[in-house]
């Protein structure tokens, strides 16, 4: 049935919790209120206060205790209310959750999914709009998942919960209610580390992940009317990374535009670009182009400034057109 991105999150959590009694959800306002975005609405009613808990307002505690709970046999799916608030928990995520398997020589593991809404365009200003993926994609031991569509939300969230390692599951706030799509009722899994060509094309490739995949598809549709054939590759997970899919599309079209909302410098687009430069340089017909958020500390509040920051379909279209003409 057709549902929003947000509904896909909620219904997947519900389906997984019915299937696996080890799954618990906790975080700030996720219980009685059902989350500030309503991602967990109705879950406490169905599963009780033991499995869907309002926790003290302390991100390090939410993640740190989830590590202990995971080691003692549960499958915690803690929520960080806004991705921007994750930084007090970085020590627990990076130095503990991500390293526990390695440092114990494979004897301990932390099966946990940290859900966090990220991204801008919702008047969230500096501290409710950030893209945080690049910080965490740098960390071996973590997995970073960024779905673009309701269908992918379901398959990737189920896979993340089944995964034996810590997963950072980033949901774009702008997508929550604006992106709708068909989602099958039955359970299905999308493997972590498999990109998907969301639109076939021949003139150039846009490589993106998360919400900007949707913006890229809009741009591609408009460009098609001008006779420009754009392929859109959705990475879906940036760690593990589907290197083969990246190189395949780069070799196919010979022109690559990497698009992300996170700011440019040190953004994950640099990694994608480096891979192509290392392995497919002589298949290219144009320099790799990156389109990303500007290098300012974070997204400002005033609509004019927010709009100026955002990587919109119009900006993508313009950049793609320029690249196609190269």
């Amino acid at each position: 049935m057709a549902m929003t991105y947000l509904e896909a999150v909620r219904e997947t959590l519900r389906q997984e919790m019915r299937r696996d009694a080890r799954i618990i959800i906790y975080g700030e306002d996720v219980g009685v209120r059902g989350g500030v975005f309503r991602a967990t609405e109705g879950l406490q009613e169905e599963f009780g206060e033991d499995r869907v808990m309002d926790s003290p307002l302390a991100e390090s505690a939410i993640i740190g205790t989830a590590i202990g709970a995971a080691i003692n046999g549960l499958r915690p799916v803690p929520e960080i209310q806004f991705a921007d608030f994750i930084f007090p928990a970085v020590n627990q995520i990076v130095q503990e959750a991500a390293r526990i398997r390695y440092r114990s020589n494979g004897t301990f593991g932390v099966p946990m999914v940290i859900r966090a809404p990220y991204g801008g365009g919702i008047h969230g200003a500096l501290y409710h709009s950030q893209c945080i993926e690049a910080f965490f994609a740098h960390v071996p031991g973590l997995k970073v998942v960024m779905p673009a569509t309701p269908y992918d939300v379901k398959g990737l969230l189920a896979s993340s919960i089944e995964d034996e390692d810590p997963v950072l599951f980033l949901e774009h706030k702008g997508a929550y209610r604006s992106i709708r799509g068909e989602v099958p009722d039955e359970r299905y899994l999308i493997p972590l580390g498999e990109a998907e060509v969301k639109r076939e094309g021949t003139d150039l490739s846009i490589i993106s992940w998360g919400m900007t995949v949707n913006s890229s598809l809009k741009a591609a549709e408009n460009l098609a009317k001008e006779g420009v054939s754009v392929e859109v590759l959705d990475l879906r997970t940036i760690r593990p990374l589907d290197t083969e899919a990246i190189l395949t599309t780069a070799r196919k079209t010979g022109k690559v535009l990497v698009v992300h909302e996170d700011n440019l410098t040190g953004g994950f687009g640099g990694e994608v670009s480096a891979l192509i430069a290392e392995h497919a340089l002589f298949d290219l017909d144009a320099p790799i182009r990156r389109l990303a958020g500007p290098d300012v500390p974070a997204m400002p509040y005033a609509p004019s400034l927010e709009h100026a920051f955002l990587v919109t379909p119009e900006k993508i279209e313009a950049a793609a057109r320029e690249l196609a003409e190269f």
Binding site: D50, G68, I71, R99, R101, S104, N105
Partner: protein, 330 residues
């Protein structure tokens, strides 16, 4: 309230004493290995033996979890780690059960012994103990999780967050502070403006208990009471065991820079090994011959461990990339 001295039979008292002596003899040998250039760094439990051994004995070992820090050699021995395991870890050997040679010495961890793997950033472990306790509570298991930490850790935000989280959720956790008066070189008076760590429990609505960390009976009783409270569903307890570290923070430290020899000599008059030896002699459980037998047994175990680890293989360099993620069992 359960009898907190329950279980302290003569056999158990002697077993506790053996583990305290074993920890000291093992510790001394680790320093020798360091000075011989055979072990790059050593962290000691020297001085903390009563607190660590007695607290482990007060738990349901094999079922309850301990979530230790680097000072806890005597604790992990009391939980069942062998001198061989400790020396394999000290020398970074492939068969080190704590980490396969990946971690610095004193970074304990064993699934089988219910000793949680340890990092180096202090106080993160308090949160893990709360989480283990959370799972135990939700699964309706009578498991207790005990975190240990130095008094320096009480300055960290994680200390507050863990106590608050565990208290609000009434978790079956014990937070055992091993207060030896120094965080490396910084004395407790520069760490906190109250004389007792335990006083902070009041702010979380949980019991805070000060105990003589050099007296294993007192520590045993305090931990036993806290474990009973936890299992009854009444929530966590903060225990402060006041003790002393007789050696530098690590083999790379020189404690002469921050504390006088007179202070250390004074503290050694309350050496937990001496305190407990006297107690056992008073009870008629120990005489010179039995005392010597305990020492000989410990020394034999440490000799064996030293020899065993000395010739054990190093990790294969080809294993560097393993266990970053779960490896499916084929």
């Amino acid at each position: 309230m359960a009898d907190v001295s329950e279980g302290l039979t003569p056999e158990v008292l002697m077993d506790m004493y053996y583990h305290m002596v074993l920890a000291r003899v093992l510790d001394d040998r680790m320093w020798v290995m360091n000075r011989l250039g055979r072990a790059p760094v050593v962290y000691s439990s020297n001085g903390h033996e009563a607190t660590q051994v007695a607290s482990a004995f007060a738990l349901d070992r094999g079922h309850d979890w301990v979530v230790p820090y680097y000072r806890d050699l005597a604790l992990v021995l009391a939980m069942g780690m062998t001198p061989r395991d400790v020396f394999l870890h000290l020398m970074g050997r492939a068969d080190d059960p704590n980490s396969g040679g990946r971690q610095m010495p004193a970074h304990w961890g064993s699934v089988d012994l219910k000793i949680l793997t340890t990092g180096s950033v202090v106080t993160t472990q308090m949160m893990h103990a709360a989480g283990i306790a959370l799972a135990a509570k939700l699964k309706h298991e009578p498991t207790v999780a005990m975190a240990t930490f130095g008094e320096g850790s009480t300055s960290q935000g994680d200390f507050h967050e863990a106590l608050n989280f565990a208290a609000v959720m009434k978790l079956p956790a014990i937070f055992l502070n091993e207060n030896n008066g120094y965080a490396i070189s910084v004395p407790a008076r520069k760490q906190m403006a109250v004389p007792d760590v335990a006083a902070r429990a009041q702010g979380y609505g949980i019991p805070g208990v000060v105990v003589d960390g050099n007296d294993p009976i007192k520590v045993y009783e305090a931990v036993k009471a806290a474990a009973a409270r936890a299992r009854a569903g009444d929530g966590p307890t903060l225990i402060e065991a006041k003790t002393y570290r007789f050696v530098p923070h690590s083999s790379d430290d020189d404690d002469r820079a921050y504390r006088s020899r007179e202070e250390v000599a004074e503290a050694k008059k309350h050496d937990p090994l001496l305190v407990f030896e006297q107690e056992l002699r008073d009870q008629g459980l120990l005489d010179d011959a039995k005392h010597q037998a305990v020492l000989d047994r410990a020394k034999a175990a440490v000799d064996d461990a030293t020899e065993f680890a000395d010739t054990a293989p190093d990790p294969d360099p080809s294993t560097l990339g393993r266990h970053v993620y779960h490896e499916a069992v084929l």
